[in-house]
């Protein structure tokens, strides 16, 4: 018997779990991904000599604070199959796919990662993920294809691998449910004039962050060199009717400015052009913009590109209209970073139907059902950045406690 089940372990889910655990509640987090932590696990710290408050570490720190709690159960690789709701308690049926690695035995030494012959078959735990143990992708793993590979089983010092694991189904009773499925990144290949996917040096912000996580700095994918001049393009996939969503995704201005800052602080001779439609930042007006105003090699200008074309040496020609004097500007860049927005995950709609919630035309959950103990937290309600969604999770956790304790 759990008191609260949190569906979706992103910033909001972790925030809610932290509040609930600090007040002694039994909590289970259900997540379809192999690791609980959500989108921030893929992002990089954007600080340079000082913290720029990108808040990526906020949910990670929180998850490392809660992960040793005895009252927390983490159900990764799991999804909600069905739910029977009631006025007092609800019964959830949760299906858990096999992980093939026992997280209780694993000591995260990383030896199996080194010997695995297939790239991507073993998924390493990102920093701050719960549980801190790798996961096996059964579609890629050689053991499941030809049954002749057992390198990881042999090298593991604690015998944590078990390839005989089967899919499990469990029924959990709980008093309250928090839905916090969050957002997924928009695929910018629908925005045709940016040629994403066709040109190697046109990256999404998420790709750029992955490169920073891997190399510690930004590099061009085509020749692995440091770029000299980059353009950061805002509102890709957001605020458009073609190949995107109509609303503003809210967080892209914030992280776009921070990517620009971390890039320039690491490479002082490089140039950055930050091309936007509207600057919709609130708190960085004081910090990120103040910083940009003091730098000669950072240009913050209005007007997003109309086309991105390839030129020599995999460089990119960006053409855009300058709204100040309605002139057409053409510039060559080494790399173009597209600040992509977020959209509700498709499974949110399915889960919302199971929990008798409604979704709007975009797929955001538009109501909650507190009377029967169904709460909604974080960016599945509306677009939010990490910090806001974490705070919303904490607030929702508190609303749950109000229901469990105060309004008995």
């Amino acid at each position: 018997m759990k008191e609260v089940v949190i569906i979706g372990g992103g910033p909001a889910g972790i925030g809610a779990a932290e509040t609930l655990l600090s007040l002694g509640k039994n909590v289970a987090i259900v997540d379809t991904a192999p690791f609980v932590g959500g989108v921030p696990l893929e992002l990089s710290c954007k600080g340079d000599i000082e913290c720029t408050m990108c808040h990526v570490c906020m949910p990670r720190d929180a998850s490392s604070r809660i992960c040793t709690s005895e009252k927390l159960e983490v159900l990764s690789n799991s999804s909600l199959k069905s739910a029977t709701l009631g006025p007092e308690t609800a019964e959830l049926e949760i299906v858990t796919s096999p992980r093939y690695v026992n997280p209780d035995k694993c000591i995260a030494c990383g030896k199996c990662m080194a010997v695995c012959p297939v790239q991507g078959a073993l998924i390493a735990p990102p920093h701050g993920a719960i549980p801190n143990a790798p996961s096996v992708d059964s579609e890629l793993c050689k053991h499941f294809k030809s049954r002749d590979c057992d390198l990881c089983i042999q090298i593991c010092p604690t015998k944590a691998f078990n390839f005989k694991e089967k899919q499990k189904a469990a029924k959990i009773q709980c008093k309250a449910i928090i839905l916090s499925t969050g957002l997924e990144p928009i695929d910018p290949s629908g925005v045709l004039h940016y040629n994403y996917g066709l040109l190697p040096n046109v990256l999404t912000s998420l790709d750029a962050e992955r490169i920073i996580v891997k190399h510690g700095e930004l590099r061009r994918p085509s020749d692995n060199q440091k770029p000299k001049k980059i353009a950061i393009v805002q509102c890709v996939g957001s605020r458009t009717t073609k190949g995107g969503v109509e609303y503003c995704s809210k967080f892209c201005c914030k992280y776009g400015l921070r990517i620009a800052r971390s890039f320039v602080e690491r490479a002082p001779d490089a140039e950055v052009d930050f091309l936007y439609m509207d600057l919709r930042t609130f708190e960085p007006r004081v910090e990120a913009l103040e910083w940009a105003a003091g730098k000669k090699n950072v240009k913050i200008s209005q007007g997003v590109p109309s086309i991105v074309q390839p030129t020599e040496k995999d460089n990119l020609l960006v053409r855009r209209t300058n709204p100040g004097d309605v002139s057409i500007e053409e510039n060559e860049y080494d790399m173009v970073v597209l600040s992509i927005g977020g959209q509700p995950r498709p499974e949110t709609k399915v889960l919302a139907a199971k929990l008798s919630l409604e979704v709007d035309s975009f797929g955001f959950v538009s109501n909650d059902n507190r009377k029967i103990g169904v709460f909604v937290a974080g960016s599945c309600k509306s677009p939010m950045d990490i910090e806001e969604s974490f705070a919303d999770g904490k607030a929702t956790g508190f609303a749950v406690i109000e229901r469990l304790e105060v309004n008995k």
């Binding site: 570490c57 906020m58 490392s64 040793t68 109509e246 509207d278 919709r280 209005q302 677009p383």
Partner: protein, 519 residues
């Protein structure tokens, strides 16, 4: 009284060439040390096995801890949940940096490791245990300073959770009564003394100086809101955005209404704007649909209709609201000759003259009034921006224990962004009150004058304003103000600052002064 240290070893020793036998050897050597009470091997993140082992070991006999990490990656963000008895100030983190993520592994030297751990344990044993430094809360009340609907909402939420709440407001509210909440109205805050749990707030009421007790303080936003009125032009009426609804109800017609995103853009006195965009867009739309003006314009630097507000913006634009954008360099001006506003449109590149009988703008804000922060001794940075714990700003707690921030007092944001914070702040206050005691500081920063290069780094950094420069151009720490947080130690480029453990007498005097405040 225990003065034992818990040593936690990160459990990936095999990858740095420490075999089981060598590790056992180290463990047995460490166990002989009189300062070390227990040794635990665990994974840095999420270890259930260690959770079980916790129970078998004499972990709870220890009141200080050393955490040893082997590789440089693990330390970032990874922390271990320690028994509650161990105060964070008595935890030492030791990063051996032996293996790097790129795979360059060094072999650990068992002797060196043992020596280092023993040294740290010996140093830690000199600090006074937390149990002796606990100061019980003398008050069980939280004072909410502020008067907006947010403050009342927060006070209600606190009262709902059984926390005694006092609401201190600057206005006089003779007829307002709230259940379980004591209201002190017409009070102007004068100052704050004491320590967390035993605060004394002094204030002036009708010219008289009065005092009230509080365990903690929740600072609300509107103290930092500054009402900036546009330059006087008798033919132009100014309506604050919050009162625009009443203006619509009055039914008076106008030639033109101009909405500003930020009054600071007119007077250029403020550095931070918090336009309540959802109210602004809604008001502009009602102005058009109710036909109370011939032309309705929104003059803004950027249309900050973030998130789902985008749709409200589109609706307003379709209804007939004109949006005019200007550049930071060319700000709009209110014409003195007549009821007009002149603005250089960024998109068209032309100067426009917009009819403006009525100007509507949200009240602009500044982070805080410096004098207010100084009066309350709230830790703040060089620009009087209130500092909160760690990089994770905006989630309620300031750097000082017991002082909580809410709403715009943390930083500028939209009104609808501020409300989710309420729950997180209330949960923090409730866990603070459940703790029931404050731990007196265990250390004070001390400067080695020979090494000090008078670079002012510590003076700029210290959140408590305890670091100063003395007459001989050396930094000096005022020990009464110093909280022993160690932020100056971390930044000092010449490594001239060290944290020194407080002596028994110093701790005793701290407790005594707090008792004086309480009496």
């Amino acid at each position: 009284m225990s003065k034992k240290t818990l040593v936690i070893l990160s459990d990936c020793s095999s990858c740095i060439g420490l075999g089981e036998s060598e590790l056992d050897n180290i463990l047995s050597l460490l166990k002989q040390d009189k300062n070390i009470g227990a040794i635990l091997r665990m994974k840095p993140v999420c270890d259930r096995k260690a959770r079980k082992e916790y129970k078998t070991l004499d972990v709870h006999g220890c009141d200080r801890a050393i955490i040893v990490y082997w590789c440089s990656m693990e330390q970032i963000g990874a922390s271990i949940t320690l028994p509650k008895k161990i105060h964070p100030s008595l935890v030492e983190t030791l990063n051996m940096s032996l293996c790097s993520p790129k795979g360059k592994n060094e072999r650990a030297n068992p002797e060196r490791l043992t020596r280092i751990i023993k040294e740290i344990a010996a140093r830690l044993s000199l600090a006074e245990p937390v149990k002796d430094r606990q100061i019980k809360f003398s008050s069980s009340e939280i004072s909410v300073i502020g008067s907006s609907d947010q403050a009342i909402k927060a006070a209600k939420a606190l009262a709902l959770h059984g926390i005694k709440t006092k609401l201190i407001v600057p206005q006089s509210l003779p007829n307002v009564k709230l259940e379980n909440i004591e209201i002190i109205d017409g009070a102007e805050i004068n100052g704050l003394s004491g320590i967390p749990g035993n605060f004394k707030i002094s204030y002036f009421k009708k010219g008289e100086r009065k005092e009230t007790d509080a365990a903690g303080i929740l600072l609300m936003s509107e103290r930092c809101l500054v009402d900036v009125r546009p330059p006087a032009n008798p033919r132009i009426k100014f309506v604050p955005l919050e009162q625009f609804e009443d203006h619509v109800k009055s039914g008076s017609r106008a030639k033109g209404i101009v909405f500003f995103d930020d009054l600071g853009s007119l007077t250029s006195t403020t550095d931070q704007s918090i336009p309540a965009w959802h109210i602004l867009l809604e008001s502009a739309k009602t102005a058009v649909t109710n036909k109370i003006a011939d032309s309705v314009c929104v003059v803004a630097r950027d249309v900050k209709a973030s998130g789902l507000l985008e749709l409200a913006w589109k609706e307003a634009a379709e209804a007939g609201v004109k949006f005019i954008r200007y550049e930071d360099k060319a700000r709009p001006k209110i014409e003195k000759s007549g009821p007009f506003v002149s603005v250089k449109d960024l998109v068209l590149g032309e100067s426009l003259l917009i009819p403006a009988d009525i100007i509507v703008a949200p009240i602009t804000s500044r982070p805080w009034e410096p004098s207010f922060i100084e009066k309350l001794f709230i830790p703040s940075d060089w620009n009087f921006r209130v500092r909160s714990r760690g990089p994770q700003r905006g989630l309620g707690q300031s750097t000082c224990d017991g002082i909580f921030l809410f709403g715009y007092s943390a930083f500028g944001k939209l009104t609808d962004q501020a409300y989710p914070d309420l729950g997180s702040v209330v949960s923090q206050i409730s866990s603070f009150m459940r703790q029931g005691y404050h731990v007196a500081k265990g250390a004070v920063a001390e400067i080695n004058e020979e090494k000090c290069s008078a670079c002012y780094t510590c003076v700029r950094t210290c959140p408590y304003r305890a670091a100063t420069m003395n007459a001989s151009w050396k930094a000096e720490i005022v020990s009464e103000k110093c909280a022993g947080c160690g932020s100056c130690v971390a930044v000092c480029p010449s490594k001239a600052i060290e944290l020194k453990n407080c002596t028994r007498e110093q701790i005793k005097s701290q407790i005594e002064t707090s008792l004086e405040v309480a009496i």
